[in-house]
């Protein structure tokens, strides 16, 4: 019987297989950041163990870093200690680190791919649930806990329980204005936040193959929000083109050997998945969340649902609680929901294509009165590219704030936070209670919807804007 992409990558990394024991898997790339690594390093120190493969390990600072005044001392004492600890640990154990102010610094899941360190057929781990992002390259990539971080640092391996496979096949062409973010939000609403539990998802079908690498990363990034262990997309010409010439991509003969191997990874035609889901891309529209988990979403053209419409009593209660927290009334058209803030950024939508998409909409327009908009590049490299293209000027001319790279308002761990009760259209990945700051209310959206929402002051799609552009600017390119 044929094998799936995930099974092939798994099998190629089994160091040891024994009856009654979990497989011991080799880890090709270990990414570190300041929040989940300190105790792992301390554990090594206490046991007198070195990092086995510093050459397969890399650290960056992202969760705690401020996005303003980055040359000033860090104000929050806890953040400061975490960042300083990572720097000290990296120096002591010989791990490469990209600190605040470094040109390669940025959100860990943006940095790995842009350096070309994430490649097809690899195993990639990080003490961070959104490690699933790297699956966009056909890598098996998943988040781990702090004791597993220590385990990988010490052994470059992990004992892992087997997984099941789920195919999510998306056929057809995404309609104009419908993005990878809308697609993944629709998938999560369809299968639920627990629907992927125990599975490695494989996204496939013509709509997936048509996505750019960055859009594929957006999709895989949120696999974890469906409860999945990981999400993957088979590598193809799009993947190889993205990788070629990146700092850590193979070169010369190595490149040819790598591509030959990568081409063998796609799921065999006769392989069988444990579960399968089909989605018609042509039926999708811009999608937003109305609740407090990423599975509580709806098309932008719909209204806030009535909790009574949920058959499942648990879902009904969850919807009631969500509406209360979000300050929403059932039946309100989503387009009439006003926002106080807009956030464009994060490892989900903080890449150059996302910034271009948002800028294209803001060009020649203004952020609505009373709305605060933050644009935060996912990495310093993304920021530099955006500046080169003049996108920063578009954002500031529109009245948005252009910030330094980091996780920023994706989570309330650094100075960028919502005030209690504030409502935000956010391109990030989690709308949990308090995620963007205590009492903050989050609607997950695509960069395009975020930008249109910023202009109109309520949840909106770019198509709502066509008549609003200031005179003399080019036609809308979305």
């Amino acid at each position: 019987m044929g094998r799936t992409l995930a099974e092939k990558v798994w099998n190629d990394h089994v160091v040891r297989r024994a009856e009654g024991e979990p497989d011991l898997l080799y880890i090709d790339l270990h990414l570190l950041h300041e929040v989940t690594s300190p105790q792992a390093f301390d554990g090594l120190r206490l046991a007198g163990r070195p990092v086995r493969r510093t050459d397969l390990t890399i650290a960056t600072e992202d969760h705690n870093t401020p996005t303003l005044d980055i040359d000033k001392p860090i104000a929050d004492p806890v953040s400061k200690v975490q960042l300083e600890t990572l720097r000290r640990n990296a120096a002591e154990f010989g791990v490469r680190i990209h600190s605040l102010g470094d040109v390669e610094q940025g959100v860990v899941h943006v940095v790995g791919p842009q350096l070309g360190l994430t490649q097809p057929g690899m195993t990639v781990v990080c003490g961070d649930s959104h490690t699933s992002t790297h699956g966009a390259f056909g890598a098996l990539a998943f988040g781990i806990g702090t004791s597993q971080v220590e385990h990988v640092l010490a052994t470059q391996t992990l004992p892992l329980a087997p997984f099941r496979t789920m195919a999510i096949t998306v056929e057809g062409e995404l309609p104009d204005g419908v993005t990878a973010k809308d697609l993944i939000l629709a998938i999560i609403t369809r299968i639920g936040t627990g629907g992927g539990q125990g599975y490695v998802l494989e996204y496939r079908g013509s709509a997936i193959r048509a996505l750019s690498m960055e859009a594929r990363m957006t999709v895989c990034n949120m696999s974890i929000e469906a409860g999945a262990r990981a999400g993957m997309i088979a590598p193809d010409a799009t993947t190889f083109d993205y990788l070629q010439g990146r700092p850590h991509a193979p070169q010369g003969e190595d490149w040819d050997a790598a591509v030959a191997y990568w081409q063998t990874l796609a799921t065999d035609e006769d392989a069988v998945f444990d579960a399968e889901i089909f989605i018609d891309a042509t039926e999708l529209t811009p999608f937003v969340t109305w609740g407090t988990n990423p599975g509580q979403g709806a098309p932008l053209g719909a209204s806030v649902p009535d909790p009574a419409s949920f058959a499942d009593p648990q879902e009904r209660t969850a919807a009631e609680n969500a509406l209360a927290y979000m300050g929403l009334t059932a039946g309100t058209p989503l387009r009439e929901v006003p926002v106080d803030a807009v956030f464009v950024g994060s490892c989900t939508n903080g890449r150059i294509e996302d910034l271009r998409a948002a800028a294209a909409i803001l060009d020649g327009r203004r952020v609505a009165e009373g709305v605060r908009m933050l644009v935060v590049p996912g990495s310093v490299r993304v920021a530099l590219q955006a500046v080169e293209e003049g996108l920063d000027k578009v954002f500031t001319a529109a009245g948005a704030e252009w910030r330094h790279a980091g996780c920023s308002m994706c989570l309330g761990m650094n100075p960028d936070q919502l005030a209690p009760g504030e409502r935000c259209a956010s391109t990030s990945n989690r709308n949990f209670e308090g995620r963007q700051g205590k009492g903050g209310r989050t609607h997950l959206v695509s960069p395009q919807v975020a930008a249109a929402t910023a202009v109109l002051g309520h949840l909106a799609a770019p198509s709502d804007l066509t008549v609003n552009r200031a005179a003399g600017t080019a036609a809308l390119e979305v």
Binding site: D28, D42, G43, V78, V81, T157, D254
Partner: protein, 198 residues
């Protein structure tokens, strides 16, 4: 991880049930960046009360905690185990532990012993009456002994073997270091390395 064969020490009788991990180590201690130094956070809220048993001078240096049922419920934080160990506890006795806490404790070399509530009551009576009374936790014989008490306990063979030999998850994996090294020789040369490239 230290080997655990047998341990004898004075006890702290903790007559409370459902002690959750937030009581063992409150959430604000989770911001720390080390695995040690949690001793002052152990039962922090209760220790503000001078009469709390841990604050009594005659309990200083005690190394066996005898707790009520449902010990270690709540959030899965491993810090709860570290706090108990940092304080100096080598073993915890209770009639029932929360699963995740139990798993974390055995992985980290803190022996959690399940005894019937009746036996726990007798250990409480003994150690409350005499703060110098010692309890022996003998993992080899799978037995707890104290004056007038001899009680055997169960522990799954794998966990016992790991504790007796002082093997944590990492040392178990490192027993197969040869397999890891052999695997490394087969990795293709095109796989990336993180050293900066010029």
């Amino acid at each position: 991880m230290e080997k655990f064969t047998t341990h004898t020490g004075r006890a702290v009788p903790l007559r409370r049930s459902n002690v959750d991990t937030d009581q063992i180590i409150p959430a604000h201690w989770l911001k720390k960046v080390t695995r040690s130094g949690f001793e002052d956070g152990l039962f922090e809220a209760w220790r503000k009360d001078e009469s709390f048993i841990l604050n009594q001078p005659e309990r200083r240096g005690a190394s066996v905690l005898v707790a009520g049922p449902e010990f270690g419920t709540g959030s899965s934080r491993e810090h709860a185990v570290w706090a108990l160990q940092n304080y100096g506890f080598q073993a915890v006795i209770s009639s029932r532990f929360a699963d995740i806490f139990r798993g974390n404790s055995l992985k980290n070399g803190l022996l959690t012993v399940v005894l019937p509530q009746q036996t726990v009551e007798r250990l409480w009576a003994l150690t409350e009456a005499d703060p110098n009374a010692e309890i022996t936790v003998d993992l080899e014989a799978r037995e707890v002994r104290a004056e007038g008490v001899t009680a055997s306990f169960e522990l799954d063979e794998n966990a016992r073997w790991r504790l007796l030999n002082g093997l944590d998850d990492i040392s178990i994996t490192l027993r197969n270091a040869d397999d890891i090294a052999a695997f490394e020789t087969t990795r293709p040369t095109f796989k990336p390395r993180t050293q900066p490239v010029s």
